[in-house]
Amino acid sequence: MNDPLANASAFVLLLAITAYSTAGGVDFGAGIWDLFAGRGPQSRRPRELIDHAMAPVWEVNNVWLVLGIVLCWTGFPLLFQSVFAALYPLFTLALIGLILRGAFFAFRHIAADPRAHYAADLVFGLSSLLTPFFFAACLGAIASGRLAFDQMSVAFGLVSLAATAFSGASFLVGDARRYGFDDLVAYFRRRAILAGFVLITIGTLALGAIGLEAPALLRSMLAGVGLPFVLATMILTPLVMLLLWRRRYVWYRVLTVTGIGSMVFAWGFAQSPYLLPGQLTISQAAAPHSTQLLLLAVAAVLVLVIGPAMALLYYLDQRGALEPPEA
């Protein structure tokens, strides 16, 4: 049974997940590099850049998460119920990471004692690993159709860590370039390329895991609607690495986001029309039409209002118009 309204809502839900994976991913990735920056004096400069890059978007990425959750329980209540009834431990761990991260990001700005400062860095960095891993693990548990923490969850979780580290480093290259810190450009460029190799390795292994655990999903990823997105990821990730390797600093951030976004799309499209493979389709889980209409209206308003506002914010930010004047 085809249901265009429910399909549209499901697509909006996929968009929200994609937005959180990409925008939130860059943010979590910065946290991961903060963790790996070490402890000595050499860690000071990268950490300051990370702070600096994160401050304007501190906790703002939660809007995508909340939007996704609300779309899910309103548009697809049955999906929401089955997913949360089964996966509540994973969500709880992801959430605990989320609040610890926000709290300790704030705390390291007010911690005066160096030991407390170091502890704050550590909690902030570790929670930057915890949250993306367990959110992605939930997606893995959904993709297998089994709603259990198993190889698929681990595969999705690890891919998300590699992907966030990769996009985090790629964007930090951009931030370092804006301030003309050549040493930090080199620092994060090396790390972005390294993370790219890790992402390709783990991504390939994850495809193998999907093939073993959910062959139907792999089939539609490689020979169905998922294929264009799988190809996009496979081409764009090495391309970004190549650009950074050759020090051609053009398009690399857009291509990073497109590559990671394609990965999410590959999963989402490959498992359609199922929300829970083998168990629940989009139209089976969908709320009544009137509810779907309101959700789509909200999405439309969002695009109309938020689009220009985001563009303005981005424009002001890129022009440096939001910087405080030199003291």
Partner: protein, 466 residues
């Protein structure tokens, strides 16, 4: 079978405590979240059109508090939205299509706030004053929309409507009816006014403390007078709206009303009991009973019949403990509201008759307490409406015990403890940050200048690596 039921119910108590705890924490952030942007804009407007640099400084400092608060509220709000799934999955599975509508609107509002707060905060220096003010004008409606969404969802739980149910499943939703249920009218206005009053009293109380410590300059007067005037002007309106709400609840949610007034049996000439508590046999202890007053308030006549708790099945009304909590919370709310009204009358009297601010030390002592008093009143209001609905999560339709998760009780207890610890940490960091800001601003006022947003986690960048 018996043991199965017991097992399913085990997580009920920790789940209720966790929901109550996280909601009670989040609700503390709501008044400033919704209403502080308006106060800030008012101050900015004064600064721009009266060419008052002091007003601009105040507005700019408030905007920093606004943004830090927003970041904390974003986290606690995200937690709440996940808890609906983690703790109450059956509620969402059955009624998400209707109950979720308000949250979809709230999600939109949250998004708008997030973006425009960023632009507003980062735009202080480089946007032209009027353009900056215009950007800020988007914030009050966004806060209003968010409050509408959440209150619409809450009102739906109290007076559900707009759904067609077939064999336990929602098959059709009338969007407008589900968004605008009976309780929304009074819940929305009552809470919205409460938010503005609270924000006004809370912000003003900071500067009342400054007055008590001896600060008497233009800065202190302005930062005290604007928010306090707004709160004081709204207080009489709130008394009226509160009265209307109570009367509407008496007819829409009679069990809740019976709990509020600890009315045991249905009767006319029902007394209004101030304080006191009720026991399992329906006897009222302590407390001051004013004869027939409840009947008079509900129907303007001592002959008005008011429904008592015993007119509801024992398993369909709040239990004795819950009834006493509701009654106490309601009395605290009304008591604090009346105290606020008296303080407001004092303030308005002097302001209107003598065209100046009060100069009594006692006035400023009470004003300094008005902020905390308002927070307690807001909490009491939430307790009244939430505990008063028990044992239902959706009034008359779905029991809390039927909506709760199957998770083992130990799991929920553990997550509850973790959340309490982390929230305590957040509260500590948050307060420390505010104190540090206040200290720095005081230092700046005595000489050295710097942009107020600097060094705040949610603030424009300082140049790194310097």
């Amino acid at each position: 079978m018996e043991s199965m039921l017991v097992l399913a119910g085990e997580a009920l108590l920790p789940s209720r405590i966790q929901m109550a705890f996280t909601l009670a924490s989040h609700v503390l952030l709501v008044p400033l979240g919704v209403a502080l942007p308006t106060l800030t804009l008012l101050m900015e407007g004064i600064g721009i059109w009266r060419k008052d640099p002091v007003a601009l400084t105040i507005a700019r400092r408030w905007s920093v508090v606004m943004a830090v608060q927003f970041a904390v509220g974003a986290v606690t709000g995200t937690i709440l939205s996940f808890e609906f799934g983690i703790l109450w999955p059956r509620m969402m599975g059955r009624f998400g299509a209707a109950f979720g509508l308000g949250f979809a609107i709230e999600g939109l509002a949250f998004f708008m706030e997030a973006i425009f707060i960023s632009i507003y905060l980062y735009g202080w220096n480089r946007l032209r004053p009027r353009a900056h003010f215009l950007v800020g004008l988007t914030l009050p409606p966004a806060g209003l929309l968010g409050a509408f969404g959440v209150l619409s969802a809450n009102a739906w739980m109290n007076t559900p409507g707009g759904v067609t149910i077939d064999s336990g499943r929602v098959v059709d939703v009338d969007v407008l009816q589900a968004l605008f249920t009976r309780a929304l009218g009074y819940e929305f206005w009552h809470f919205l006014i409460a938010l503005y009053m609270t924000a006004g009293f809370v912000v003003a109380s900071v500067y009342a403390v400054a007055w008590l410590r001896g600060r008497r300059d233009h800065y202190q007067r302005l930062a005290f007078a604007v928010p306090f005037t707004i709160a004081a002007a709204l207080t009489p309106v709130q008394l009226l709206v509160g009265d209307l709400s109570a009367r509407a609840i008496a007819s829409d949610q009679p069990a809740k009303f019976a709990a509020v007034e600890i009315t045991w049996t249905t009767r006319d000439h029902n007394p209004e009991v101030l304080g006191g508590y009720i026991d399992d046999s329906g006897e009222v202890h302590l407390g001051i009973a004013i004869p027939s007053l409840d009947s008079l308030l509900v129907g303007y006549s001592p002959n008005t019949v008011v429904r008592g708790l015993t007119s509801f099945a024992a398993d369909s009304r709040p239990n004795t403990l819950e009834v006493n909590i509701v009654h106490l919370a309601f009395d605290v709310m009304v008591g604090l509201g009346s105290a606020g009204a008296a303080l407001s009358a004092w303030f308005l009297w002097i302001l209107l008759r003598r065209r100046r601010l009060p100069e009594s030390r006692w006035f400023y002592r009470l004003a300094a307490l008005s902020g905390i008093g308002s927070y307690v009143a807001v909490e009491s209001g939430w307790i009244t409406t939430e505990v008063g609905r028990q044992p239902w999560i959706v009034s008359g339709t779905l029991r809390v015990s039927d909506a709760v998760t199957d998770a083992p009780a130990n799991f929920v207890w553990t997550s509850l403890i973790a959340l309490v610890v982390i929230y305590a940490l957040i509260a500590f960091f948050f307060v420390t940050l505010l104190i540090k800001l206040a200290e720095r601003w005081r230092r700046e006022d005595s000489g050295v200048a710097a942009a107020p947003e600097m060094g705040v986690p949610y603030g424009p960048r300082s140049v790194p690596g310097e």
